[in-house]
Amino acid sequence: MTDLLAPFGEYLFLRRALVGSSVLAASMAPLGTLLILRRMSLVGDAMAHAVLPGAVAGFLLAGLSIWAMALGGFIAAISVALLATLVAQRTREQEDSSFAAIYLISLAIGVMGVAASGGRVDLAHLLFGSVLAVDDQGLLLAATVATSTWLALAWLYRPLVLATLQADFFDGTATATIVRVAFTVLVVMNLVAGFQILGTLMAVGLLILPAAAARQWATRLEPLILLAVLIGVASALIGLTMSIQTDLPSGPAIVLCAGSAYLISILAGRNRIRIRRS
């Protein structure tokens, strides 16, 4: 056991990666729980992809600054969310199809941006993250986002849960808009903080998988959220350790750990898949 953890004592960049990914996991798990309950898992996925063009624009304008790329990604994803909601409201289109349509446009612009940069942007890093290259600034971003997320959730929790239970509970009041917008902003903030660590393609992993796994065990909301946080943080730790021992990419390793927790949960949890004997 100590052998497995020894590299963390030896290398600063591993400790950074561990802290960055666990902090992110702890911040994403409660949001993911509510995202799933609101039936918005795929909307979260769409917004994660939408981060790409903004991050590329940030890089092209300001160079390799995590803050510029984060701000760009934030603006891009929020714009996609706004546009998709607007389209769904103004036309008779469903929100899932408007989100899919607009994030695809955004993603394509992002890839064009990467191509136009003439090789200055490493697409693989943006898509899959580079958790082992997280520096102090990246850590600071993740920590800031995680802290604001927990504080904001403390404030938002009750109305958010009620609006999830009953979509029209606050209908026609400013509270309805505040809850909706604040939740979207939190999700996007976390995706942006996640893209350096896990990449835009994988950032959703720590948002959805731990929450989906925990849902197979817990019935009450608070235990559900706590369990999701535990699964997320454990996935970060185990995934990183595995990736060091096997020399495999760490972002996917973390996501695969969370994925295993999910698979085990649907096979063994409260609502496990039962094979009927006929």
């Binding site: 309950l37 009620l162 239970l165 009953q166 509270t175 019935t219 009450r220 909301l221 559900l224």
Partner: protein
């Protein structure tokens, strides 16, 4: 609260004219049953009074502000996968008083417990909503209405598929609100219940068929058969 006066109110549901030139008065403190065949526009009228639909033409005067209106929709718009306790659900009925983002005040919590006692759910306060039977869920929804303390109460077929005991309890609750001078409008399909419970009745079939004291209103036989 004022009387609610409708003058030539027509309402569109999508592109269909669901209500045509409704005129009449719900007096302050009155208890009115709305009856009529399927598709008569009963729910549309409640939606309009609740401010969820706007009249295409005509005016409604005297409506209380939304915070002072409680609306129990026919089908509960609840996603029961979301684990919320009965107590939290009922207590948040008073959110307009203490604000959605604030902690629930002690006073609101105590009135929520009172409301739960009234509907006989005190023992189940820590259950989640998905653990309730449909009758118990309806009682919880009524407890939330008690907690809201609104002046105008709109109920859409509140006794559909509800057991007799719960129906009896909830009708006595409505009678108590009536004694407390709240204005209550309740869509019913049971004429006997309307006679027993409501002094006034509005028979609707996209337009007003009859509107007045229940006995006279129901005696008007120009309306299609009501199940």
């Amino acid at each position: 609260m004022n009387d609610i006066a409708l003058k030539d109110v027509s309402v569109l549901r999508g592109t269909v004219l669901a209500l045509t030139e409704i005129s009449g008065i719900f007096s302050s403190g009155s208890l009115t049953a709305i009856l009529g065949p399927n598709g008569a526009g009963k729910t549309t009228l409640l939606d309009t009074l609740a401010g969820r639909l706007q009249p295409a033409t005509g005016v409604i005067a005297g409506l209380p502000s939304p915070p002072n209106t409680s609306y129990l929709q026919q089908v509960p718009q609840l996603d029961l996968r979301v684990p919320v306790t009965v107590l939290d659900f009922v207590a948040m009925g008073a959110w307009r008083m203490h604000g959605a983002f604030r902690d629930i005040e002690r006073q609101a919590l105590e009135s929520a417990l009172d409301a739960l006692r009234t509907v006989g759910l005190l023992d189940l306060q820590l259950r989640t909503l998905d653990e309730l039977s449909s009758g118990q869920l309806q009682r919880a929804r009524f407890a939330q209405l008690i907690q809201q303390q609104s002046q105008l109460i709109l109920l859409d077929e509140p006794f559909n598929a509800i057991d007799e005991e719960t129906t009896a309890m909830l009708t006595s609750l409505i009678a108590r609100w009536h004694a407390d001078s709240r204005t209550i409008i309740v869509v019913l399909h049971d004429r006997e219940l309307a006679r027993a419970l409501c002094p006034h009745a509005l028979v609707l079939d996209r337009q007003v068929i009859s509107w007045g004291p229940t006995e006279q209103s129901l005696a008007a036989h120009r309306w299609r058969h009501v199940a």
